[in-house]
């Protein structure tokens, strides 16, 4: 076993410190050390997107990043998407549109979709499909996921993130 390193980062708005081995991925650090099991392991090769989280505002596969690299970063996981118990518009729209079946890919899709909407509040279907192409879903055929993201975008444009969440 190699020596552990102390990492300090902001996770879902809270400052956290954790000890990890350099070989431990960020995904492993989040799941096994910080007990945030929302990000899922689907492939460990960056092909399925189930482990997607946001680092300093950009969506990455946490399986392809080491925990030690998180030093000083701001991390948002699916657990940080809802604010004080109120679901984010994306989360609500995923439920309303029945965009999940088994739900294992859902955290990753939500984070990828948030990454898109944060940068492009008015995406069309092609934009959504491109932004979600790194996330595999085997249950839905993507139809209801794409519709939910487009609907959430419209909702956020009308109500804004805070107001949309408060409704």
């Amino acid at each position: 076993m190699s020596k552990k390193t102390l990492v300090e980062a902001t996770v879902n708005g809270e400052t956290v410190e954790f000890l990890c081995e350099p070989r431990q991925s960020l995904l492993e650090s989040l799941r096994d050390i910080l007990e945030l099991t929302g990000a899922k392991e689907g492939c460990l090769t960056g092909d399925c997107g189930a482990c997607s989280v946001m680092i300093d505002g950009r969506v990455v596969c946490s399986c392809l990043m080491f925990g030690v690299e998180a030093q000083g970063t701001n991390i948002t996981t699916v657990e940080g998407l809802a604010t004080t118990g109120t679901l984010h518009s994306l989360q609500r729209k995923f439920l309303e549109h029945a965009s999940l079946q088994c739900g294992i890919c859902t955290p990753g899709f939500l984070m990828a979709a948030k990454g898109l909407l944060d940068r492009n509040p008015e995406p069309n279907e092609a934009d959504v499909r491109y932004a979600l192409a790194g996330n595999l879903c085997r249950c839905t055929g993507y139809d209801k996921i794409v519709k939910a993201v487009l609907d959430a975008a419209a909702d956020l444009r009308t109500h804004g993130e805070g107001k949309a969440a408060a409704r």
């Binding site: 076993m1 431990q24 092909d47 079946q101 890919c105 979600l132 085997r138 055929g141």
Partner: protein, 762 residues
């Protein structure tokens, strides 16, 4: 979302409430198998064969055991010897001896990735390092990778004890030969004006669930064990693990975690017995999670196949004869779905004369498991392409050809009694009347194809209990792991019977000690059979509550009526009581109310689907782009329409992936080369259009709510529909899946380059 019901008779059924497990699943709180941890838990990893076929001469794990942090290593020597006989389990038959050999190879490895040993260590990295330190000496044997090679006289034999009863009791790789026939095939072909005869190949494909297999095993010093895992069937995990481990079923409890997809692939065991074995040896909980490479190499994909179809029709478009030969790869142990494939291949059509020969063949590939309508997709790729060709020869629209020959109530199945009420023709008509089929497809190298599919659907055993709470709300407990939103449907059925809202019913999936036996979530059976149990359990609760209401009112039970969620006393002017009013009086009138039911789901209603797809083919590269896709499927009755549509769309997407790019790619040594999701190419968001759905509702007379089950048949038509669309786009008949760019290009070039074709689906 629209709250309108699809049927005025119902208040809850046909609406689209938010699923009960939804909030947990969008916030990351839902616990899947890999999310479980226990104090002192160890992590396990599995050593797997680097050879497709070899004798294990020796295993030395001294070095591995010495690595600090390693706690135990198990091999097949730690497994008891078990019965070598076939036992039916869900949709697939299981032989405990074969299962044991698949869990840990006994004396030989039979495929690349075959498990040999398992290590438990204080973390996964150390377990993995230990696996690399185990030394195995092999005597490598020639691999047998395809059915044609395996069936040749003199082929290398996989199992010494597999013998051919039809051919002088010789050693063989053919585990089973099925034959189905009717009428006089020779006479049938004689009457045909057109005969089409084609040979097809389909590649082995994987279910592709995003969540890898997982298990946490906890063996207790009192001789009991608990397994937490993501499975489609907790009761199957219990009985299979008991068989492999030589433990009584009653000593094992299986707790089904949330499950990240299965599609049939999580109906058997791989890691579960290992987790118990390692836990027993170490005294600690042990978690095992497969890597994606392990999932692809060593879980249970579905069969690749070779199929020959010869069919004849008269010039007015009547099918008169079919002769079919089909052989499916079982993988390393017997048990491909070829029998099911044979019983599906021409079932949508009235064919008076047919002969079907079907062979289950062992090869050096992973043992196949169920995959959504197992066997039917391979079969339909062949038959539905030939049907398309016959329709063309007859000059009849392919949908009209299907309507003309399609089965209706009273028509014969390939095997079994005549059909009861079915909706095949209705799915064809729904496509014919769809905006998609009515639209004109224009543009170069574009084509439209249609195809249909049949799947039996399953019944089997289910149990349910309905508990009425003190506040008049309810919970419904079943043993069916919820793989795609079925909990919502169970709550809706309960709510419908009890006159509650869907929100007032909390659905729960219980462990194997907390609910009566319930078979696997598979065979499209949960909403049908577990739904039936739930319906009956809710009725049982109502019956008990009527008695209680009668006690309260000092009436006879038959003087009390229950409707619209309220109890009414006949005769006097007492105001009606709601369940909410009655619930606080349970204690005084005889105790809590729990409705119970266990059913053996008879009255299964078969499923049919018809799919229409438009494609554009790049004649210079062979790449096929899907432009538009519509599916019509008979649901019987859609309990939660959104999740019915979801099953239709998801199965369609899998079928499209199967048709275009998915395949197991083995090298000449029998080693799987595409062991990741980079090269096992499932459709991404950018590869698919919106998938339009037409839900047909021809009520199943065998179910109190008319439910058929909708989980599977949607996967059946797409590969054939794609092949038929490609034909109309560029004029080539694709006879092999996947219809990947190199194969399509080769066919196009052979056909004479990028000849232009009309886009019309005529």
């Amino acid at each position: 979302m629209a709250e309108a019901t699809t049927n005025g008779k119902y208040k809850v059924i046909g609406t689209r409430p938010i699923r009960h497990d939804g909030a947990d699943k969008v916030t990351g709180r839902a616990k899947y198998g890999a999310d479980y941890t226990f104090p002192g838990m160890l992590h396990g990893k599995v050593l797997r064969s680097p050879h497709a076929h070899a004798i294990i001469k020796s295993i030395n794990f001294d070095k591995a055991l010495k690595l600090p942090g390693v706690k135990a290593i198990v091999t097949s020597k730690d497994l008891p010897s078990v019965a070598n006989k076939l036992e039916q389990a869900g949709e697939m038959a299981i032989n405990p001896h074969h299962l044991s050999m698949n869990i840990l190879a006994h004396d030989r490895v039979l495929y690349d990735g075959h498990a040999i040993a398992a290590v438990a260590a204080i973390n996964g990295h150390i377990a993995e390092e230990a696996v690399r330190l185990i030394e195995v000496e092999y005597e490598v044997l020639p691999p047998v990778m395809t059915v044609d090679v395996a069936m040749k006289p003199g082929a290398t034999i996989l199992h010494k004890d597999l013998r051919n009863q039809e051919d002088g009791d010789k050693q063989t790789n053919v585990a089973q030969h099925y034959q189905f026939k009717r009428g006089d095939v020779a006479a049938g072909f004689k009457a045909a004006d057109y005969v089409v005869e084609r040979e097809f190949k389909t590649a082995m494909v994987h279910q592709g669930y995003i969540e890898p297999h997982n298990a946490v095993g906890i063996y207790s010093s009192d001789g009991t064990a608990t397994i937490y895992c993501s499975t489609q069937g907790a009761f199957e995990v219990r009985s299979f693990s008991a068989q492999v481990l030589g433990m009584p079923v009653g000593k094992i409890r299986v707790v089904p975690a949330e499950i990240g997809g299965g599609f049939g692939g999580k109906t058997t065991v791989y890691l579960e017995p290992l987790s118990v074995l390692l836990s027993k040896k170490t005294g600690a909980p042990v978690k095992l999670v497969m890597s994606r490479a392990e999932v692809l190499r060593a879980s249970g994909p579905t069969s690749g196949s070779q199929i020959k179809v010869k069919m004849g029709a008269t010039k007015d478009g009547k099918l008169v004869a079919a002769e079919i030969w089909m052989a499916y790869e079982a993988g390393a142990f017997p048990g491909s779905p070829v029998g099911a494939g044979a019983m599906c291949i021409i079932t949508p059509y009235k064919v008076e004369n047919f002969l079907i020969d079907a062979y289950d063949v062992v090869v050096n590939r992973p043992k196949t498991a169920a995959y959504r309508a197992p066997g039917a997709t391979n079969a339909a790729f062949a038959s539905e392409t030939v049907i398309d060709e016959l329709a063309e020869k007859c000059g009849i629209d392919p949908i009209d050809f299907r309507i003309k020959n399609g089965v209706k109530e009273g028509d014969a199945q390939t095997v079994g009694p005549p059909f009861k009420r079915i909706g095949f023709i209705q799915t064809c008509e729904a496509i014919k009347n769809s905006p998609h089929y009515k639209s004109k497809l224009t543009g170069k190298n574009r084509g439209r194809g249609v195809a249909s599919g049949f799947w039996f659907n399953a019944g089997m055993n289910s149990s349910a209990t309905v508990n009425i709470h003190a506040d008049g709300t309810a919970s419904v407990v079943t043993g069916s792991p919820d793989i795609g939103g079925s909990r919502a449907s169970m709550a809706m059925i309960t709510a419908e019977v009890l006159g509650l809202s869907a929100n007032d019913v909390r659905p729960v999936t219980a462990d194997t000690d907390s609910i009566g036996h319930t078979d696997v979530t598979g065979g499209s059976r949960v909403t049908f059979a577990t739904g039936m149990a739930v319906y009956e359990a809710a009725q049982d609760a109502v019956k008990q509550m009527i008695e209680r209401a009668s006690k309260v009112w000092e009436k006879k039970p038959d003087e009390v009526e229950f409707r619209d969620g309220k109890f009414f006393a006949k005769g006097n002017g007492v105001p009606p009581m709601s369940i909410k009013d009655l619930a606080p009086r349970f204690s005084r009138t005889g105790g809590p109310i729990t409705g119970r039911a266990s059913v053996n789901g008879r009255g299964v209603g078969p499923g049919f689907a018809t799919t229409c797809v438009d494609v554009e083919v790049d004649p210079e590269t062979g790449k096929v782009q899907i432009l538009r896709c519509t599916i019509a499927q008979d649901a019987g009755k859609a309990i939660h329409p959104s999740y019915v549509e979801g099953q239709m769309q998801g199965g369609t997407a899998q079928g499209l992936g199967w048709g275009l790019n998915e395949e197991y790619f083995y090298d000449e040594k029998g080693i799987l080369r595409n062991v990741g999701l980079l090269d096992y190419r499932m459709p991404t968001c950018l590869d698919l259009p919106m998938i339009e759905t037409c839900v047909v509702e021809e009520a199943n007379p065998g179910h109190p709510l008319g439910v058929r089950g909708v989980g599977e048949v949607s996967i059946v038509p797409p590969p054939a529909a794609l092949a038929n669309a490609i034909y109309r786009a560029v004029g080539v008949r694709m006879l092999e899946t996947p219809m990947s760019p190199p194969k399509v290009l080769k066919a196009v070039l052979k056909h004479g380059g990028s000849a232009q074709h009309s886009a019309a689906a005529d």
